[in-house]
Symmetry: C2
């Protein structure tokens, strides 16, 4: 316990330690009983700290992830329809599997609901979850329901590695000399949330697009598997924000990243409607659920040729620590906000 206790001060609140500090602390504790005479520890490939956990199954690698989706924390109360909530809760979890290059197989759903919730709303919630799950052949096979003062949806996803290749994508394998690339375009989800919470008025097409960007993200399952197929080793999904998530990769890999901000693919509607703020939304807004990966230039080229979505190189991995943003001339610039972390009040 000494090492663990040394990490924080006496009577510290979780809001002072922050989400990532707390995860580090609990990961250390969870690893204390590690004993390779026991099968579960011996077969463990990846514990706390990545998008999903992984262990050696009988024949393939097994993966599992769990995430909660809580009213007024992960989604604004009253703004989403129930089927949007269901879709997004499922999408957030499937995205963690996309980030590992896994094949999602089964989902378990733990629902907490106020007792005056209408049954029609719960079936709409399930409809949203099932609509997305079935697109990836994922079966919802269990879970539980309990009453609670607020809505909380916790989903666990069970997966396997792809048949063709048994390796999985992790956060900890980035190396200097690799390029940093992202799938798709960024900023629309955060722009959608801002539009909804600040009741901003746009034309109907932009309104629908931005709303869907926030509530209907489409997890990059196929792209994650494609990255594995083409030899990429390192990936993460952009949930907390590009900089924050890239920083997680740097931390886990013991490297630094340089991002050329002019190369970041800011989504065009966001650029048009949030001109001054669009870069910040793309860099630190989060919830786009695109994939960020690192690989050597020739691997990125192979991925670009094979992918059906946009793949953009935004920077490179170098020796050092943390994420540096640079302008076209290579001069470092700074941004106030670095992404979304639970508990830390900025």
């Amino acid at each position: 316990m000494t090492q663990i206790q040394a990490c924080y001060n006496f009577a510290m609140k979780v809001s002072e330690l922050g989400e990532f500090g707390l995860i580090d602390l609990l990961a250390k504790m969870a690893n204390v009983p590690r004993d390779n005479r026991i099968a579960s520890w011996r077969q463990l490939r990846l514990g706390i700290g990545d998008d999903a956990a992984a262990w050696q199954g009988d024949d393939s690698i097994q993966l599992a992830t769990v995430d909660s989706f809580i009213q007024d924390v992960h989604f604004p109360s009253g703004l989403a329809s129930w089927d949007e909530l269901g879709w997004k809760a499922m999408a957030v979890n499937l995205s963690d599997i996309a980030a590992m290059g896994g094949v999602p197989r089964y989902a378990l759903v733990s629902l907490a609901l106020p007792e005056n919730t209408e049954v029609d709303d719960v079936t709409a919630l399930y409809t949203g979850m099932i609509d997305l799950a079935k697109q990836f052949g994922v079966a919802i096979i269990g879970g539980n329901i309990s009453r609670a003062p607020l809505v909380a949806i916790t989903i666990a996803i069970l997966c396997t590695s792809t048949n063709r290749d048994r390796h999985i994508l992790t956060r900890s394998t980035a190396e200097p000399g690799e390029l940093v690339a992202v799938t798709g375009e960024l900023g629309a989800a955060a722009a959608g949330l801002e539009m909804l919470t600040k009741r901003l008025q746009f034309d109907p097409q932009a309104t629908v697009f931005l709303r869907n960007a926030f509530f209907h993200p489409y997890p990059r399952i196929a792209e994650g598997q494609l990255l594995v197929d083409h030899g990429v080793k390192t990936a993460i999904d952009i949930s907390d924000g590009l900089i924050s998530d890239l920083n997680q990769v740097c931390k886990a890999s013991g490297v630094s990243a340089r991002v050329e901000i002019d190369r970041v693919p800011v989504e065009p509607t966001v650029k048009a409607q949030f001109s001054g703020k669009s870069l910040e939304l793309a860099l630190s807004g989060g919830e786009d659920y695109e994939l960020l990966f690192t690989a050597r230039a020739e691997v990125v080229d192979r991925v670009k040729r094979a992918a059906t979505c946009l793949i953009t190189v935004i920077g490179e991995i170098v020796a050092g620590k943390g994420v540096t943003l640079v302008d076209r001339q290579g001069n470092p610039i700074s941004l106030g906000k670095a992404g979304w972390e639970h508990f830390i009040t900025r």
Copy 2:
């Protein structure tokens, strides 16, 4: 959707439909995308409706379960220490695996916490979870943390079937002519909760015992595996209450059960301290996390000889529906309360 919608009235609240009604409804929805051309559906052995879900892995059967443990719903606020909460949240989930005769391997923990929670309390919570998990070689390998207005602990457990025998225990295989039996003694957990919430005063030994019965249940993992080894097919863990859980077995198996109330092993401290109410606590109090199983007399005898805990035959499976309680002379008797079901207000 027609069949699903026919199950409930327009604008019904979940409190009117009840937990079990809602589970039935959502299970029907979740089964709609069933398609045996897809691997996940083809390999599924057991979906929504049992203590855990099960599917055919590469070599062994894989099992998974998820359960939430929510402040003021599953545990009274302020009465438990944080390590007791951690232990119990883990125990509740492991008990579902015990009820399947599975070998628990990995746990994922989703924690929701108010931001002013003290870090020491979170590490105490984890200590409780780890203390129990390591007794069964279970590794905590992932999860997530988020802020929330209340404490909610959701744990997913991943398991395999035992090496020796690939069958698992289910709720749906009880047959007329089998005996109904339980492990251990019943009523102490519910008595402990009553003592805590009503601030009842007992001698120190009884106080500690009853508190532990509620907060420190020991999941019957070894006994579940022993049941599989000796040919038992049907089991459930007593979480909602003996009658309620036995009723689930009857419903899933399409049979009826007769329970001779004088044979129910009421825990002695409960009998001594809650004389008039002790039988009700044992029959419908719940949270004892003992195993209830059905099997032919010779199988029960084999289990009795092999088990290190008390095994008591309390009745038999007959043709029909529901659970009947009978006295020593075989006359039916009735009890007001049938167990714990979420949402239904009695």
